[in-house]
């Protein structure tokens, strides 16, 4: 992103509540998904959109030319805030956590190519290039907040401040929390107990420090989603590992139970959709031929051709707080041509050549803003209904 500022480094005792930044009437939308489901990429590319106005491709093509009432929060100046919670010493009896916050601000970078590297580097490179000290998995979580504004169509008060949030580097914790409803918290002060953590397979066999960190992560997540106004569920297609597939299905089923029990709006984003061959075909066609109007039918694709491997699960939810047509989206935050090469479009909007001298180009994003806009719309609809 434009500029990264690493600012605070504080030491806090575990369990003490962090003072929330004052935000008036902010709507919080939680993004959840299994590990490597695309949460980080989704956040960073959306932030890129709000900070740098990265273009987004829509498939199927939108009749309104892609107009969405989403805006960067220019008043705030901060597009994305990432706070790393790190246990410096897992054996510390007080269980202290250190926090480091990075702010990604709304100023463009000179080299857009570098921007791509930062945004799309593989997990290994991320650690070296830009991100957190490795290993990230077992000793830290990252709370990500993206600030933006949403203006309800026809709304009288103009746009409203919104926050998109996730606990990054915690896909395993997110999966466990939603999968096992015995872990669910009912209040923002609640705490996941060691005893209920035993619902997680093999929990007792873990190292004590990992068990403790996991329990804290679950508590953090539980409190975080307890205060959420809506949830965006990221589902990753074409998972090679059967365990990952099972984890994702269990998470999805858990999220359905959760939103039903809390009466929360849910929007589903099938991330990395460029991995789905038919969908990629549409992207490629749209990039090569600027006049191409895609009529791709996502509902038909998902239900009848099982694009996300969710089969009857999605069918069962239809009409029960979820509409396949309006609440499920195929998205791709960083389209890849395969073999790790990003797909760029140049200034003219056509595919930038991959070989030869480095070309100015911006990464291709597909439908990335749609789930967010829909989540905002549903939250505000619900609020309006309550106010009436």
């Amino acid at each position: 992103m434009a500029e990264v500022k690493v600012t605070t480094r504080t030491r806090r005792v575990a369990g003490s509540k962090r003072a929330a930044k004052p935000s008036i009437d902010t709507t919080r939308i939680a993004v959840v998904g299994i590990p490597a489901s695309g949460k980080t990429t989704y956040f960073r590319f959306l932030s890129g959109h709000f900070g740098l106005n990265l273009p987004i491709l829509y498939i199927p093509s939108r009749a309104d030319n892609g107009t969405l009432p989403l805006f960067g929060d220019l008043e705030n100046d901060v597009a994305l805030e990432e706070t790393t919670y790190e246990t410096t010493d897992p054996t510390d009896p007080e269980g202290s956590l250190e926090t480091t916050t990075r702010f990604y601000v709304n100023r463009p970078m000179e080299d857009r190519r570098k921007l791509w590297v930062e945004l799309s580097a593989g997990r290994e490179d991320q650690g070296i290039l830009t991100k957190y000290p490795l290993p990230t998995k077992f000793n830290q979580f990252v709370e990500m907040k993206m600030r933006f504004r949403y203006g309800a169509p026809g709304g009288e008060a103009g746009s409203r401040p919104m926050e998109l949030q996730t606990i990054d580097e915690a896909g395993g914790i997110i999966s466990d929390y939603f999968t096992y409803d015995r872990l669910w918290l009912d209040t923002v002060e609640g705490e996941v107990s060691e005893k209920t953590c035993r619902v997680i397979p093999h929990f007792d066999s873990w190292r004590p420090d990992r068990r403790d960190l996991w329990r804290r992560g679950l508590t953090l997540l539980g409190r975080f989603v307890t205060g959420a106004d809506a949830i965006i569920l990221l589902l990753s297609p074409s998972l090679a590992s059967l365990r990952d597939q099972a984890q994702q299905v269990n998470l999805a089923r858990g999220v359905f139970r959760y939103v039903k029990s809390r009466n929360l709006p849910l929007v589903i984003a099938i991330s990395k959709s460029d991995k789905l061959k038919e969908f990629y075909g549409e992207i490629e066609h749209a990039v090569r031929e600027r006049t191409f109007l895609s009529t791709f039918d996502p509902v038909d694709f998902l239900l009848r051709r099982d694009g996300a491997g969710m089969g009857t699960i999605l069918v069962a939810q239809e009409g029960r707080g979820l509409s396949m047509k309006e609440d499920v989206f195929l998205v791709s935050s960083a389209v890849s041509t395969g073999e790790g090469h990003p797909l760029f479009v140049g200034e003219s909007g056509e595919e930038a050549p991959n070989a030869g001298a480095p070309t100015m180009g911006v990464p291709v994003m597909v439908n990335t803003t749609l789930p967010l806009a829909r989540a905002c719309e549903r939250v505000l609809e619900r609020r309006a209904t309550k106010e009436r």
């Binding site: 096992y180 409803d181 015995r182 005893k195 209920t196 035993r198 619902v199 997680i200 397979p201 093999h202 929990f203 007792d204 590992s241 059967l242 365990r243 597939q245 099972a246 984890q247 299905v249 269990n250 089923r253 139970r257 491997g309 969710m310 089969g311 009857t312 699960i313 069918v315 069962a316 239809e318 009409g319 029960r320």
Partner: protein, 500 residues
């Protein structure tokens, strides 16, 4: 060891007392007319069978007692739980039991009854008498030759002593040899008279008459009467649940889920009925006069058959041994010889298994079909695990890996939990049962038309949710249960995810 009468609520089936004749005639050889079988002394055969019974009692946790008799009645093993660590000592003790003298059969039966006596609840349990002779030494008890005849001077009537009011006694008498001529075999006439008197008494008292007399004339028949078994051996490449890598476990579970999702391609699964997933506890099993069948799966190591097969399982052990060493024709030959003494389902199963190994597919299929029919006749306690073994063989014959994986996993789990708390075992098997039931709701989502699809999907998801809820409770309650339990729960969890 637990003494007489200390378990007031125990069921008759959990309490077994064996009365073993150690009179001098037990040293005589027992004919084995079939070629290739060496003659054995009666006592040798009986000892081998007792070892096997003891091992089984140690494995199952049932109470067991041993009474031996010559003209003196002794109790070498008082009624109690046979602990595995005590087994070598008890076996050593039994190996030293040497026949001598005469037979005090009636006095021994009274002592056996005393071990099973539970105060006002009468005599409760199973009494098995193994004898080769006539009573010629009892001093305290006698049996009337016929109704109304007198007893020996100063002796008590064994019938009422053995069967007081409120009793729940089963009595099996295994008589060795034909006793038409005195001292050449069991006194069959007297035994049958006695059982008739006991039956009359049971009817008068309103008790179930559960008394039988079986005459055996060969060593194989004696062993088979004492040890009624279905044994199986694992297949090559079998891996224990706890040895599976998590990704491997996931692969197995996904494969097994296909067996549930595609019933047409995996018809064998329908033979494993979800409601009959677990072996019912002995106490709940309906009474049958036929002896309970022992079911065991023997692990075949890389070196081939376990060394003790013949000793533990008699003629069937020899068949299995030949099979494991690749001598299929010999295995079939031995099987044919043992036909009379083996339970039909065991004999047919092994015929199918050996024929399949010989690539005689038609013969194997025919034998297996008959085995299914025989299995349906078994008491439920034996039937459930045997059906699974038949299903596994059938799946293998049909190259149906998915069904084989599913059934094998369920079977391995139950086997792996043999020593654990029965409630835990039942709970896990019930979970497997619930998982199997999802076949029905899933199938409806495949068959439903456009309009009904959502309704079917909704029902299926609700059913999945119910099982998942039970699974979570099991995870919380059984978190320290060990690798077999965890493996089973992981398997079910992944199967659930696959049912979509």
């Amino acid at each position: 060891m637990e003494g007489n009468g200390t378990r007031a609520a125990a069921s008759p089936r959990e309490r077994n007392v064996l009365l073993l004749d150690l009179s001098k005639s037990m040293l005589a050889p027992l004919p084995e007319p079939q070629n290739g079988h060496a003659e054995h002394q009666k006592i040798e055969v009986a000892r081998t069978a007792v070892f096997r019974i003891l091992q089984d009692a140690a494995a199952s946790g049932t109470l067991f007692g041993l009474v031996t008799f010559t003209e003196t009645v002794r109790v070498p093993v008082p009624l109690g739980e046979i602990r595995r660590e005590n087994l070598p000592y008890i076996e050593n003790l039994i190996s030293m039991l040497a026949p001598s003298g005469r037979s005090a059969i009636w006095d021994a039966m009274a002592v056996g009854a005393d071990l099973l006596r539970m105060g006002t609840d009468g005599v409760r349990g199973n009494l098995v008498l193994v004898t080769d002779g006539w009573d010629n030494a009892s001093q305290r008890f006698d049996v009337r030759a016929s109704s109304g005849t007198s007893l020996g001077a100063g002796r008590l009537d064994l019938g009422p002593y053995l069967l007081p009011a409120n009793s729940r006694l089963t009595l099996r008498i295994i008589g060795i040899g034909n006793g038409a001529e005195r001292d050449k075999g069991v006194d069959a006439g007297r035994m049958n008279q006695f059982l008739a008197q006991l039956t009359d008494r049971a009817q008068q008292l309103g008790l179930p008459p559960a008394f039988s007399f079986q005459e055996v004339t060969t060593g194989s028949a004696l062993f088979a009467q004492m040890v009624h078994a279905f044994i199986d051996v694992g297949y090559e490449g079998d891996q224990a649940i706890e040895e599976l890598h998590p990704e491997e476990l996931a692969r197995h579970a996904a494969s097994a889920a296909r067996a549930l999702k595609e019933p047409q391609q995996h018809a064998t699964v329908s033979r494993i009925q979800p409601g009959r997933m677990s072996t019912p506890p002995a106490a709940e099993a309906a009474y049958r006069e036929a002896p309970e069948m022992e079911i065991d799966v023997v692990a075949a190591g890389p070196a081939g058959a376990p060394a003790y097969l013949k000793e533990r399982y008699g003629p069937l052990g020899e068949v299995v041994e030949a099979y494991l060493s690749g001598q299929y024709d010999r295995a079939l030959e031995l099987l044919a010889r043992s036909q009379a003494v083996l339970p039909p389902v065991t004999q047919l199963y092994w015929e199918a298994r050996v024929q399949f190994a010989r690539h005689a597919v038609v013969e194997a299929a025919r034998a297996l079909l008959q085995a299914w029919t025989e299995a349906e006749r078994l008491p439920e306690a034996s039937q459930v695990p045997i059906l699974r073994r038949l299903a596994m063989l059938q799946a293998r014959m049909q190259n149906d890996k998915e069904t084989e994986t599913l059934v094998k996993f369920i079977d391995n789990t139950e086997h792996g939990l043999a020593q654990s708390d029965p409630k835990t075992r039942e709970r896990l098997m019930a979970l497997f049962g619930k998982l199997m039931e999802l076949r029905g709701t899933y199938q409806l989502t495949r068959l439903a038309g456009e309009g009904d699809l959502q309704d079917a999907a909704l029902k299926h998801e609700a059913a999945v949710e119910e099982v998942f809820s039970l699974l979570q409770d099991a995870r919380l309650d059984l978190s320290v249960g060990g690798p077999v339990i965890e493996g089973a729960l992981d398997f079910i969890e992944i199967c659930l995810a696959e049912m979509r």
